[in-house]
Each structure stands twice: as C-alpha cells, then as structure tokens.
Amino acid sequence: MSEQSYPPVTQLAMASLALIVAGGIYLSSHLPQHVPLAPAVVLLALSALLLAANLIALARVRGFAWDRFFQVAKWSFLAYVAIGGMIEYVFLRNHLSGGPLVVLTLSLVVFSVHVPTLVGFTVARYYQPEELPAAHAEA
C-alpha cells in the first residue's frame, strides 16, 4: 500500500466538526431565551478557519487523486445539502431569526462542506493510479 504522507485532514475536520457541534449545542440549549452570541461566533470562526486550513493543506498535496475525490465528494455534498436544508427548514419553522439564525446557518454551511471533504479525502487517499489499467487488462 502506498504510504504517501498527507496533511492531518481527518484530525482537522474532526476538530472543526467538534467546534460546530459545540456551538450548535450551546445555542440550542439556550433557545428560545435570549442567548449571548459571542461564544457561538468564536466557535464558528475557529471552525471555519480549520475548514479553510484543511482545504488549503489538501490543495497543496502533490499527486492527489482529485478525480476520485470529486467523484465521491460531489454526491456526498448533495446529500449534506439536503440534510442541511431540512435542518434549516426546522429552524425557520420554529421562528428562529436574527443572530442565532445567521450563526446556525453558517454552521450548517461549514458542516455541509467539511463532511463531504472528509468522505472524499478518505476514499481518494487509498486510490492507486494503476488500478484502472490493471482492471482493463484483466477484462
């Protein structure tokens, strides 16, 4: 198995998800009462920062199987957009508005981008370019 070194994409993504989940739990545990937004905004900003760092680190990997990555990530992204859309609908249906709605919506955006990135990365890191020729030769 090829042992190409990769940046810590999984670790960063899990840290980012943990921050998003913490922010979401913090907000939802206070609602519908008034909730100070500062902690949630800080958690969201840190999470978005980790997402950006992750994408930049991944973009700098040489010889990464981007075809395979996008092949998996695009369908995963579609699924998570649907999930995020349903969660957003629940927020609106429960008359959430103002700052908490903005923070939770942006959290959903980070969530909907980061999980597909992680799924695509996990699949693409084990891709071997010689797979296709071998498969064709066999057929």
Binding site: M1, T10, A13, M14, L17, A18, V21, A22, I25, S29, V72, S76, V115, L118, V119, F121, T122, V123, Y126, E131, A134, A135, E138, A139
Partner: protein, 70 residues
C-alpha cells in the same frame, strides 16, 4: 451537560470517522481487485469508532436512568 457531551462525541465520531470509513470500504470492495490491507486499515478505524459509540450509548442509558429516577 453530560448529555450534550455524549451527543457531541457521538455525532463527531459518526460523521468524522465512521461514515467516511464506511464509504471508503464500500468503494474499495467495488474495485476489481480490492486490497485487503486498505480494508483492514479502514475496518480498524471502524471498530474503534463503533466501540466508542457503544460506550456513549451506555452513557446515554445511565443519563436516562438518572433523569428518570431523580
């Protein structure tokens, strides 16, 4: 507070480790020549994740029991 931690840990592990490993194993198995070493590595991750999720489910039971009896 404990239930928030349990929910957080479960969701992060399920979304961050379990689901990507599951999909990667499925895609590896679809290849004409699946590599056992890749599946082994991914399944190790799967087993660790499932173990932690099991512990969290026991924690959920404990929390529910405490809430019901208090």
């Amino acid at each position: 507070m404990a239930s928030f931690i349990v929910v957080g840990v479960m969701s992060v592990i399920a979304l961050g480790l379990l689901e990507p490993a599951n999909i990667a194993v499925l895609i590896e198995l679809k290849k004409p020549r699946p590599r056992p070493e890749v599946i082994e590595r991914l399944m190790k991750r799967f087993i660790f994740s499932a173990g932690i999720l099991g512990v969290m489910q026991v924690a959920t039971l404990v929390i529910m029991t405490k809430l019901a009896s208090s």
